[in-house]
Symmetry: C2
Subunit: 456 residues, 2 copies
Amino acid sequence: MSESSIPYKIYLSEDELPKAWYNLRSDMKNKPAPLLNPGTLQPMTAAELEGVFCDQLVKQELDNDTPFFEIPTEIRDFYKMYRPAPLVRAYCLEKELDTPAKIYYKFEGNNTSGSHKLNSAIAQAYYAKQQGLKGVTTETGAGQWGTALSMACGYLGLDCKVYMVKCSYEQKPFRREVMRVYGASVTPSPSETTEVGRKILKEFPGTTGSLGCAISEAVEAATSTPGYRYVLGSVLNQVLLHQSVIGLEAKTALDKYGIKPDIVIGCAGGGSNLGGLIAPFMGEKLRGEADYRIVAVEPASCPSFTRGEYRYDFCDTGMVCPLAKMYTLGSSFIPSADHAGGLRFHGMSSTLSQLYADGYMEAISVKQTDVFAAAEQFARVEGILPAPESSHAILAAMNEAKRCKETGEEKTILFGLTGTGYFDMVAYEKFHDGVMVDNVPSDEDIAKSLARLPKV
Amino acid sequence: MSESSIPYKIYLSEDELPKAWYNLRSDMKNKPAPLLNPGTLQPMTAAELEGVFCDQLVKQELDNDTPFFEIPTEIRDFYKMYRPAPLVRAYCLEKELDTPAKIYYKFEGNNTSGSHKLNSAIAQAYYAKQQGLKGVTTETGAGQWGTALSMACGYLGLDCKVYMVKCSYEQKPFRREVMRVYGASVTPSPSETTEVGRKILKEFPGTTGSLGCAISEAVEAATSTPGYRYVLGSVLNQVLLHQSVIGLEAKTALDKYGIKPDIVIGCAGGGSNLGGLIAPFMGEKLRGEADYRIVAVEPASCPSFTRGEYRYDFCDTGMVCPLAKMYTLGSSFIPSADHAGGLRFHGMSSTLSQLYADGYMEAISVKQTDVFAAAEQFARVEGILPAPESSHAILAAMNEAKRCKETGEEKTILFGLTGTGYFDMVAYEKFHDGVMVDNVPSDEDIAKSLARLPKV
C-alpha cells in the first residue's frame, strides 16, 4: 500500500464496528490481583459486589478468562451515533516537526461528552436499565465521565446523580449545564449530602476534592438508595473491557492499510483510555505474536506508575470501597489544585498495574506546562483543540517524533487523542497568561500518604 | 436500496470531497443586485472592492456566471482535516417523534470552530496568504466565525484581528481563549480602538453591540492598516460559494443512496449556512430539473426575511460598507441582548434575498424558547448538543416531522446542523432556569430602523 494512499482520516464503516469487546485479562499469564473486601481482606465475591454494581457488570469485572464479550445490539446502535471514531494520520504535525516518523492518533472527541468515556457509560447504563434499576450514581473529575453518563442515562431514561470533584466543578462551570441538558443532577464533592462527604469536609476543610472523595460519596449514595447502583468511569476491569472498542477499531483501521505501529502511547489517569487503546496490541504482545513499545503518560503532579508503590489500597479517599492491588500514591493523596483537569486519581487500573509490574509496558510522567505548550502547537497544525488529559499523550508522541528526527528512524507512532478541551479554557487561559504552575509532590508527600495505607 | 442499508452516518471518502465550489448565481435568471458604492450609488468596481477584500475574493464576489470554481489543493488538504462531514440519518429522533418522516442532517460541528464557518475561513485566509498580505481583520458574533478564522490563520501563519460583538464576548468568555490558542487578538465591539467604534459608543452608550457595529470596526481596522484586508463570514456571494461544499457533499451522499429530499431546511442569519446547504438543490430547482421545498428559519428577534424590506441597505451599522440589496430590518437595527448566540444580522445575503423575492424559497421565524426546547430534546436522543443557531433548523425540521405524523406522509427532510453549542452553556443555563425570554421587535422598532435607511 503506497504512502500517498493513506487518507488523512481512516473511517471504518458501521459494519466494521467491533461486535465484541476484547478482554485483555484472558491473555495475561499473571492475572490482575482480585479486589478484596476491606473488612475480611478476602477476595470480593460476586454477591458482595452486586450490592454496589449491576449484576452483568460484576460478571464482566470478575471474569479473567473469557476472551470476548458480545456487544449488545442496543449498545452498538448507540455507538453508531458517534463511532467508528476516526484514526487520523497527523500529516500536518509530521510536517511541523519535520520528522521522518509517521504519526497516527485515534480521535475519541467527536461526541458531546468530548471523550472516550461514552464507550463505557452507555454499556454501564444499558446493563443498569436491563436490570430494572431506577438510576445510577457516579463521580466525575474533569467532567467528561459525568457528561458521558448523563448522555447515556438521558438516552435510556435512567436517573443519574453525579458527584463532581469540587475544583473541576468550579473550573468548568459549563460542564454542569451540559449534564443538566441530559437530565442529570450534579453535586460538588465533597458535599454535605453524604456521611463520608461530611467526614472529609470536617477532616480537610476547604479541600478542592479528588476523584477518591467523589467516589466515596457516589458509592454511599448508591448503596443507601433503593433501586440505584454505582458506576465508575475508569480503573475497573469492566471499564477497560468496554474501552477495548478504541483499540479494536484502531487496529482494524491500521491493518486495513498494512500499518504496524512501533510505539503505542496513551495518557493514564485510572487507565480507561490507555487500557482500551492498547488492548489488542498488548494481546498480541502477550501471545508472543508481535512486539510493540507501549507507553503510559501520566502527570508529574499525580504520578502513580512512576512514583507510586504496587500494593493493595482503597480506590476511594473515604475507604468505603474494596481494596485493589495497584500502583498507588495512597488513597489519601490529593493532587495539587493547580493541576488542570483529569488524571487526578491516586491509583491505577489493576490490570495495567500487573502488566507494568511484569514489564510489558513503560511509563513516564510529564509537567503540565510542557503539556499545554504541546497542546497549543498541536491545535494550530492539526486543528483539534485537545483536552489537557489527551495532551499528555500528544507531548510524549511529539517527543518520540523529535527523537526520530535526530536518529533518522521512520518509526510509526500511534497515540490516543481521548478528547477535546472546549471545557478547559480556564486552564488554557492560565497557560496563556503565564500563571500556570507545575506542582509536583515531594517524596515526603507521597511517603506520608502511603504510610496511611492498611497493611494487607 | 433498502431502508435498513442506510447507515446512521454517511461518510464520503476523501476522494469524494468536492473538487470545485458551485456558484449558485450562475443558474439564477435574476442575478443578485450588485453592491453599490455608498458615495456614488454606482455598482462597486473590482478596483474599489480590492481596497477592502483580497483580489481573488473580489473576482469570486463579482462573478455571477462561472458555474464552478476549482478548490485549490491547499484548501482541499485543510478540508481533509475535518471533511467530508457526515450526513446523519436521525433514526433516534424519528423514533422519538414517532413520525413516518425520514430525517437527515448534515453535521458541520465536528471541528474546533464548532461550525461550518471554517469552510470559508480557510478559503479566505488562503487567498490573503497567496496575495502576500500580513493579516486579516474580521468581526464575530457568536464566536464561531472568529474561531474559524483564527484556526485558518494560525494554520497559515497569518495575523488575525477579531472584533467580537460585546454581548457574545461577555456571554462566551471561553471563545476568546480558543481564539488565543490559535494566536488571534480579540477586541469586544464596539471598542475605543476605531473611529467608528468611538462614534457608536457615543451615540448608543452601553450598547451590547451587533454584527453591524463589529463589521464597521473590522473594515476600518483593515483599510487603515497596510498589508491587511477585511474578511467576512457570511452574507457575501463569495462566502456562499465556499459554503456550497456543504450542499455538494450532502447531495453526493444522498445520491449515493438514491435519496431525494422533499424539504431542505436551514437556519438563516446572514445566509452562509443556508446558501451553502441548499446550493445544489436550488441549482436543480432553478434549472427545472427537480423541485424541493426550501425553508429558511430565522429568529423571531431578528426576522429579516419575514418582517424586513427588500431594498438597498448598508451591511454595517457604521455605514462605511457598500450598500447591498437585501431583505433588511435596517442597518441601525440591533436585536435584543436577550437573544442567544448568532443569527443577529440585520440583513440577509443578496443572493438568497433575490431567490426569496422570486419565490424559490420560504421563510419562517421562530422563538428562542421553543428553539431551546427542541435543542434539548434533540440532544437527548441524537447525542449532539446543538448550537442555538442550528437549533432553529432542528425545531423547524421537528415541526415538519410532526406534521407528517398527522398526515401520514413519509416525507424526507434534510436540515443543516451547523454546529455544536459547547460555548453556549450560559444560554442553556438561562433556559433551564426558566429565565430565558422571547424579545420580539415591535412593528414600530422595525419601521423606525428602516426609516433611517438611505433612499436608493
